[in-house]
Symmetry: C2
Subunit: 249 residues, 2 copies
């Protein structure tokens, strides 16, 4: 692989076909082609999406359709969630300038990555962010900050295109570094479920009403540490070792 | 006036109300509020425009509606025309980076200005550019470069918003300088018509089939010279003086 990896655009529960099509058109305007859609409200295929893509139909026809966000993310190594709301989560929250200037430069060797957008009415829910590595917000008029879905997609794709152009004059041979490869989201998911299952058994997730928040905080810790595939394997071994250790008591 | 002057957005013969509304929303997302529309295809008012503005209705209700582009421009001192096509005109053609980095910095004291967008189907015609000072193109995927109308408006407005934020930390008191004030488009129009009328009488615009091209070239020369109000007055005096000079022969 001798070029920077383009992101996959992921729309979570989009409502209007027109917006899906307009987002596809915006993607292609900026040279991006891979679209995934989680649980589109009006079903799939969607003729309005085809029509409003205005020539970018191939993106619509080739879009991956998923039932859950986790399925749509499972083979990705890194994800960026777009959200305008301030979140009380221990995740890095960038605006687009910071992201492009300080972050993306360093994140070009992380493997396959995606950018996640929420629905028109409500954006992304907190639980949609469970597997996101960083949050990204788009600067706007403070008193009127809600962008149309395809507009949000356009702004991010447009900035990506320009950044890539800038970088391509610097980075000649951008090869993915295996040692640097982050764990895939399905690797992480397997690890999380094992950990949480064992914690449940061990009575750690108590009282039950606090369990979701405790799980969220734990996951955030491991996401921040940017685990590699090998490290996840190691941690799963750690869980087993700790269990064995307990058995001998 | 103690701040940079925000541009007026001008849509020439827009077709779909949805796009007009989405453009208004994009404007307000970026803190811009003044919209002018030339000859909207589906008439005015347009309920689809109101609906798709999603909270930016005030821009739609306050939009100025004009029959011709010249009327919409007549009180402006400077105009930027957005076009993706390469034009064989002697006008400066910037892409958005050049414009923001090299040009807008110097053009903040020029008075009232506007940014012009063409229709969805065909963009701006060559004659729409007669009163434009510079052309602006939006970078894109070379093999799929046609942006949705509201997307084009968004990109320009978004970049303007960010530029202004950057500048506002530098420019504290940006007062319009009267000595630097460009002639209004109606000043220019009066001058052009006087000049062309006299040239016609003088047999300069010959043969007739070449007249439109000759006029276009002449206008482009004067536009490039960025005439002030006072200079236009001087040039109109020059025309009269030359005529008088001829009479005495």
């Amino acid at each position: 692989m001798n070029r920077v990896v383009d992101p996959i655009i992921i729309l979570v529960q989009p409502q209007l076909g027109e917006n899906i099509g307009a987002a596809a058109r915006a993607m292609l305007n900026c040279g991006l082609t891979r679209l995934r859609i989680v649980n589109p409200r009006d079903g799939w295929p969607n003729s309005k999406a085809v029509r409003s893509s205005s020539g970018a139909e191939s993106i619509i026809y080739n879009a991956g359709i998923y039932k859950t966000l986790l399925e749509a993310l499972s083979d990705l190594n890194f994800t960026v969630a777009c959200t305008s709301r301030k979140r009380n989560l221990r995740k890095k929250q960038f605006n687009i300038d910071d992201a492009l200037n300080q972050y993306f430069d360093n994140s070009l060797k992380i493997g396959q990555w995606g950018i996640i957008f929420g629905s028109e009415s409500s954006g992304l829910k907190n639980e949609d962010l469970d597997y996101s590595d960083v949050l990204l917000s788009i600067p706007s008029n403070e008193s009127f900050g809600s962008f149309n879905l395809s507009h949000a997609v356009l702004i991010i794709c447009f900035h990506w295109m320009r950044k890539i152009k800038e970088l391509s004059s610097i980075v000649k041979d951008n090869v993915i570094d295996k040692d640097y490869l982050l764990a895939s989201k399905s690797d992480l998911s397997g690890f999380f479920l094992q950990l949480e299952n064992e914690l449940e058994k061990g009575g750690f997730l108590y009282p039950p009403e606090k369990a979701p928040k405790m799980i969220k905080n734990l996951r955030a810790i491991f996401l921040r540490s940017k685990l590699s595939k090998k490290e996840v394997k190691t941690l799963r071994g750690v869980i087993n070792a700790l269990k064995r250790s307990g058995m001998s008591l």
